[in-house]
């Protein structure tokens, strides 16, 4: 049976949207499980080599080189990218440090350098093409399921 190959990723964020995804599955997992091939979801599955995906759901903003490399790799390996939540879409609230005054900026400078942070924290669209966005801080459980079901249909999974 054909399944929708998905990945769920979190960058700089509180993983609140990921939690909403896990909550949205409380009542829908039994119905949806046969249509889904969950290939990446660090919260539940140990890390493995990047695999091809139909849809990657991405939470969080981009703040380091390491973030960016992984983000690009996800784009290369996924047909669709869905930005979920305010951090991924607008950078807020993970980008608070972008607007710090000079004094605070100089206080955190050495920390940022040590852990190879970029000068600013940015939404994912600054670096890659995004196919769809689910707004909210966090996203709502319902909107995630609507989006997931749309892709189940779009990729012809149910009819296969």
């Amino acid at each position: 049976m054909k399944k929708l190959k998905i990945g769920i990723f979190a960058f700089t964020s509180d993983e609140g949207c990921i939690m909403q995804i896990l909550e949205s599955l409380n009542s829908t997992f039994e119905e949806l499980k046969d249509y889904l091939d969950i290939r990446h979801f660090r919260l539940l599955i140990p890390k493995k080599e990047m695999q091809k995906m139909d849809v990657a759901f991405i939470e969080g903003a981009i703040s380091t080189k390491k973030d960016l490399e992984l983000l690009k790799k996800i784009r290369e390996n996924s047909k669709k990218i869905v930005a979920i939540g305010s951090c991924a879409i607008n950078g807020v609230p993970s980008n608070m440090r972008n607007s710090f005054d000079e004094k605070t900026k100089s206080k955190i400078k050495s920390f940022l350098e040590k852990f190879e942070h970029f000068d600013t924290v940015e939404p994912i669209e600054k670096y890659i093409e995004v196919d769809e966005k689910i707004n909210g801080c966090p996203i709502s459980e319902e909107n995630f399921i609507i989006c997931l079901k749309k892709y189940i249909d779009e990729f012809g999974v149910k009819n296969a």
Partner: protein, 430 residues
């Protein structure tokens, strides 16, 4: 079997540990049978919340710091509200206090269920992931979702949603629970109650030979509410919420985006196991009646029993919230008056993973001048690393793969939260 004694030299690196909240990497270096170093590295990118809220109006603070952590947002939100109310001397109503207790218990139920069924059970059943459970094991997945759903509904009933609940405000809740939803929530909680016992049995038999004595701290009073009481340690020493900060010392961890803490200059442990070790007498009486055989286990120094402690707390949260929901009559209330003044206040709550401390200084215009936030995982960091070191040294006769499994199980028993652990820059103000 070879009788030649071999000295062990190896490096164990686990990148991006799975089945914990947030991103972390573990590095262990063993040379000549000695663990040279253990580094539990928080990989979450720091977001500078303590600095970010400086200059912001006090009313926005709880909803902002809620965004420190998705899974335990209710704890951050409640703790910040408490700190601000103490600073501005706001009297909250009994109903608001009751609603806070309910929202915290809903969060605990949801969060503990995620940890027990989705993170720990795969270790016990020898599976990589909860998604690999076979037909016979699949009911655990269903029960995990069901337990989470009950907690979700409870927090939603009071706060509007399970993550970053928007009805919770400084001084009050902006909405009163609807009576039709109260009934539905009680039913869901009663159904979830039946599922509590299987998972307790499993967590009771999940144990290790590993023991390291330590000091535990938890908020305790007669009701086990995660919200009210003094802070006690396992030796009976106690301190008020306002003063506990005087005994916590920040320790910089140079290789990590997180920091550690000592209490009275020593490692210590906070979380469900600490609450059970210190305060199990205050569990709900219905809970105590049904779990006598497990109560004998506490106090314990087996960190694996943190899992059993969480499973017990789930039953307690269910029993306590059913009692409240069946007896409480929620009414619209007048918002308390808030007078802005230059002030300072401390809030302390029990998050699912332990003690959470907030301290804010507010200026005469109601803006934040200084902030300090201490999360449970940061408090447990030093203890966790010391445990890993000892565990590896005790098991050097085993294969590296076996050691890796043991270490991962140990870390997962702690239930660390890396999104919480990474948020804070060293500030000399505690």
């Amino acid at each position: 079997m070879s009788l030649v004694l071999k000295m062990h030299d190896f490096d164990l690196n686990i990148k991006n540990l799975s089945k914990i909240e947030g991103h972390a990497t573990l590095k262990i270096k063993v040379r000549k049978d000695k663990v040279e170093n253990v580094k539990l590295i928080v990989e979450e990118n720091r977001r500078f919340f303590e600095e970010g809220i400086i200059g912001k109006n006090y009313q926005t603070i709880p909803q902002t710091v809620s965004r420190i952590c998705g899974t335990c947002s209710v704890a951050h939100l409640t703790c910040a509200s408490e700190a601000i109310e103490r600073a501005l001397k706001v009297d909250i109503s009994r109903q608001t206090l009751v609603m806070r207790k309910l929202s915290l218990m809903g969060m605990n139920l949801r969060d503990h269920a995620m940890h027990l069924y989705f993170f720990v059970l795969p270790d016990i059943l020898g599976k990589e992931s909860v998604l690999d459970f076979n037909k016979e094991e699949h009911h655990f997945l269903r029960e995990g979702f069901e337990m989470k759903a009950a907690g979700n509904l409870l927090t939603k009933l009071v706060g509007g949603r399970a993550i970053h609940p928007m009805f919770a405000q400084v001084g009050h809740f902006s909405k009163v629970p609807e009576s039709s939803k109260i009934k539905e929530t009680i039913e869901k909680l009663k159904k979830a109650r039946e599922k509590c016992f299987d998972i307790m049995d499993i967590m009771e038999s999940y144990e290790s030979n590993f023991r390291r004595k330590t000091n535990y701290i938890a908020i305790a009073d007669d009701n086990y509410t995660f919200l009210t009481g003094r802070i006690f340690d396992s030796k009976g020493w106690s301190v008020s919420e306002e003063n506990v900060g005087n005994y916590l010392k920040e320790i910089v961890i140079p290789y990590s985006q997180g920091i550690g803490y000592e209490l009275k200059n020593k490692e210590f442990l906070t979380g469900a196991i600490a609450r059970m070790n210190i305060n199990s007498n205050s569990l709900h009486q219905e809970t105590r009646k049904d779990i006598r055989k497990y109560l004998r286990i506490f106090p314990t120094h087996d960190i694996y029993k943190n899992n059993l402690a969480q499973a017990i707390e789930n039953l307690h949260c269910i029993d306590s919230s059913i009692e409240i929901l069946e007896s409480e009559e929620f009414k619209e209330e007048k918002k308390p008056d808030i007078k802005i003044s230059e002030s300072e206040g401390v809030g302390v709550v029990e998050a699912p993973r332990g003690l959470l401390y907030n301290r804010f200084k507010i200026d005469k215009n109601g803006r934040i001048l200084k902030s300090k936030i201490v999360t449970p995982t940061a408090q447990n960091q030093i203890r966790m690393e010391n445990d890993i070191r000892q565990l590896v040294e005790d098991n050097l006769d085993k294969s590296e793969e076996q050691i890796r499994i043991l270490v991962e199980e140990l870390i997962r028993s702690y239930d660390p939260c890396m999104t919480c652990a990474s948020r804070f820059l060293k500030l000399k103000w505690i």
